[in-house]
């Protein structure tokens, strides 16, 4: 089935999220929709899926104009969507999830689970998915859960499949498998829309590429285009993807984590006997797929986790057992992975957020009273230094974009006297411009002789920043490898395998 979007325009108030977007996806092709976070890709797909009504323009399937008033209409017309966050009920089996919403019934309204099972088995076999219809979804690995989503869409005879940022939760190997599946689907004549901002994946799998920027189609690109070409189309200017980084000037051992074990509230061992050393002037990246203990490891360093064994020493002093305030006072700068939940108070102004972890003593407090003049001066200075785009120091942080919010967090942490910087998911959800900025600041911090720990699930980021890479899998460190280790090796390690060439 051929999908055609003509002149789709969607406005929210004075803001035009989609501005006369034209897009044609032929059957049997993988069409990549490439754009930064916020370029309008998701809005466009929500229009296609009937979640939003377009203000202008029309949707055509095989040259017939369609009117979708909801996802149900879109599904019936043959459009399927695989969401970034799975729409599955964790405690249901695969078959139950697949039939959910259009349950086959037998006489008297009894569910026909057998029919659903047969359907799952049939689709699974047709594409070699290897999915057990009776498996409970929450017990399946993420990659398999995604296949359940695909089966769900195919079970409704989807002829157009939309993948919305499908690789964010996958290991590199799972990503490769997904791409194989996408090619296979393409070859059976399905029209595929692949939404992403990861250039490498685009070049690997796309037949055609449409680049969207600021709600407009800025052009088509060939899959043969280079990363830099694609990135500059996406951003609208030349982008230097590889930030400038001198070889590290490695100093003394500064931050030593030894035999660290963390047990969470559900009595699960989430971090198991982890140990690593970070030297002054070095970036150690902790890589791994989301949910393999990185979050808990970082929380243990910060002093938020309760049940921690082992030792965490910074410049010879033990951090374990200290309160969060004590850890910060020891000179740890901390950028949390979830800046809106953990890093910032949305209702506070930029200035107030800049003093959030310095609410006792100089320079912002004297005799228990806030030094508002001093704070304002400081905030003005940091807004200029970190290029925070805001009307002023009294702008509420909740009103800033993700990139500017992250700059506020960075500005706060980097303006203290640091002995260690811990950055978790430094660029999650940021635009390319901000990513460049954040990466540059991290490298500058390293070059000033401060040990840096970067936790990231983005392999590109890890490779860009790291001097050494520790890969985590199921709470343990699989291995610590040099920064120039190949992606293939890293990918295997992220799946828990330890390649032969990696030393213990």
């Amino acid at each position: 089935m051929k999908l055609e979007l003509r002149g789709i325009t969607k406005r929210f108030g004075a803001l035009t999220a989609n501005d006369h977007i034209d897009l044609t996806v032929e059957p049997g092709e993988i069409h990549c929709l490439l754009g930064e976070n916020g370029a309008g890709k998701s809005t466009l797909m929500n229009v296609l899926y009937g979640l939003y009504q377009a203000d202008e323009g029309e949707i055509l399937l095989d040259d017939d104009v369609q009117h979708f008033s909801g996802p149900g209409d879109a599904m019936n017309a043959g459009i399927g969507m695989v969401h970034q966050h799975f729409m599955l009920i964790p405690v249901f089996t695969v078959a139950e999830n697949v039939m959910l919403g259009h349950e086959p019934t037998r006489l008297g309204g009894r569910l026909d689970l057998a029919a659903a099972r047969a359907k799952v088995r049939e689709i699974s076999e047709r594409f070699g998915f290897d999915v057990d219809p009776d498996a409970v979804v929450e017990e399946l690995p993420v990659g398999v859960q995604q296949r359940v989503e695909i089966i769900k869409a195919l079970s409704r005879d989807a002829k157009v499949l939309v993948f919305d940022e499908p690789t964010a939760v996958l290991t590199p190997q799972e990503t490769d498998e997904l791409m194989a599946i996408m090619r296979q689907l393409r070859d059976t004549g399905v029209a595929i829309v692949f939404i992403t901002h990861k250039l490498r994946e685009v070049r690997e799998v796309a037949d055609r590429i449409t680049v969207i920027r600021l709600g407009k189609v800025v052009g088509e690109a060939q899959p043969t285009a280079s990363n830099a070409e694609l990135a500059s189309m996406m951003v609208g200017r030349a982008v230097d993807l590889s930030i400038h980084k001198d070889p590290p000037k490695i100093g003394a051992e500064a931050f030593v984590v030894h035999d660290l074990t963390v047990i969470d509230a559900a009595d699960q061992v989430v971090v198991s006997h982890v140990g690593f050393t970070v030297h002054a002037g070095e970036v150690l990246a902790i890589a791994g797929v989301q949910g393999n203990g990185q979050t808990e490891l970082v929380e243990a360093i910060l002093g938020v986790q309760n049940r921690v064994e082992g030792s965490i020493r910074l410049d010879g002093r033990e951090l374990l057992g200290r309160s969060v305030g004590g850890v910060l006072d020891a000179g740890v700068g901390f950028v949390p992975e979830d800046r809106t939940d953990d890093g910032l108070v949305a209702e506070f102004t930029i200035a107030e957020n800049l003093m959030l972890d310095r609410s006792t003593g100089a320079p912002f407090v004297r005799g228990g009273t806030l030094q508002l003049t001093e704070l304002e001066r400081f905030a003005e200075e940091k807004i200029a230094e970190f290029d925070i785009r805001a009307q002023g120091v009294t702008t509420h942080v909740g009103r800033l974009s993700g990139g500017n919010q992250q700059k506020v967090v960075l500005a706060r942490e980097l303006s203290r006297e640091l002995r260690l910087l811990v950055v978790s998911q430094p660029t999650r959800g940021l635009d390319v411009g901000s990513i460049e900025f954040v990466h540059t600041r991290i490298v500058q911090t390293r070059d000033s002789g401060i040990p840096v720990v970067v936790v990231s699930t983005e392999l590109d980021e890890v490779v860009t920043l790291a001097d050494r890479i520790a890969v985590m899998y199921r709470g343990s460190i699989v291995g610590i490898v040099p920064g120039d280790t190949s992606r293939e090796v890293l990918g295997l390690m992220m799946a828990g395998e330890k390649p032969a060439e990696v030393a213990a």
Binding site: F12, G13, A14, L15, A17, E36, N37, G38, A39, G40, S42, T43, M81, H83, Q84, H85, F86, M87, D164, L214, G215, V235, G236, R237, V304, S323, V324, G325, V327, L328, D338, D341, D342, G343, V345, A346, F348, E352, M355, L356, D357, S359, F364, V365, G368, T369, L370, R389, A390, Q391, T395, G398, R399, L400, S401, G402, G403, N404, G429, D431
Partner: protein, 450 residues
Amino acid sequence: MTDVGTGSAGGAEPIHSQSSKLDTIEPGQQPNARRDPEAPFGNNLLREIMSGGAVLTVLAIVLALVVAAVLIAATDSGVQAAAGYFFARPSDLFVAVWNAVSGAYVSLFQGSIWNFQRTGFLVQIAPLMSTLTFATPLIAAGLGVALAFRVGMFNIGGRGQLIIGAAVAGWIAWSFPMPPVIAFLVATIGGLVGGALWGAIAGVLKATTGAHEVIVTIMLNYVAFYLVAYGLRTQGLLQAHGSNSPVSPGDLPNATYPKLSDLITALGGPATSYTVNIGFLLSIVATVAVWYLFSRSSTGFRFRAVGENPRAARTAGINVKWVYTLAMIFSGALVGLAGADQVLGTTTTGFNSGVDAGIGFSAITVALLGRSRPWGVFFSGLLFGALQAGGYTMQALQQIPIDIVDVIQSVVVLFIAAPPLVRAVFRLPKPGSTRRVRRTPAAVAEGNVK
């Protein structure tokens, strides 16, 4: 910063934030599974209530007065009679309604602010003085509840804290002879400490065990009430010496709050009936203190941070548990001030277990109406004081049941707590969409509009 051409980040970000906002209704989004374990239940409700504007508050009051007018008319005997022959002479009904409603509100005004039926300024202003008297404990207790709100806690324990504060203040007031001024100041501090200790129990339990402050404070209300009731029935504890009824001894003269009328006569002025006392001054001091706490002090900064986002506060090294405890101590102390005012200013001849007089719960209403801002609480305390003072006049002059006044108070808060409802009634735009109107191209280019 305004250069759209090169400032790609600036140009791109407004759309980014726009779409991230839209993402919340995207089916692909899972609800945030990692919710704050410490976030007080109803935190969002509190935020919603506190973020409403002054316009909304005024409209809620107007709406409440309209609803009350309907009730006044419906319960008025003249209106009921006129309605009986509505089809014969419809105009009678409208006249009766007008008379009932206007009479009610005129007497409300007359009883709470300015009595134009008397002559002489000092007499005419007497109702206002009475309003201030009623408002005094409401302001103090309202500040206490509001303070806890700002830290993200529901202090429902105003009644218990007030009773304990009153008992301690009273005990000091009748037991220890002290020189003037010192006597009532010491007794007041006793009230503060009593309320603070009672509030601290809930704070400590929340900090150490995670026990929810709503449940703990509600239960502590009962504990305080029956504890003091027991004391009032027991010789040697709180009962007046040789008395058979559950009443405390009266305060020693030096320990009572000086009244404004006493001050005027002491300065050689005419005799007046002003019951407003030094307690009102203390309420003003408390309001200023709470304002300073939240606007200027580092402690208040941490309080607000914990109230708005306890996770971020914890990550920033703020001792969230200690903040909860300290906030309940402060909150209880302010409610204790209201208790001291009850004993030292109002029922100075000995109190019984009804010393709370509903103030502990009204304080919640006052705090909500004042949107937990110090001066907001001050003025909403004045409004509620006025309703109380005027309510008695309404009852006396217009035979309007005093319950109607309570209905007005309740309806005001009901509308305050339901900003979307008031917005719908007055067709006000949603907060989000007013922001969108302000999304000028220049602002978008600057990249600071969400």
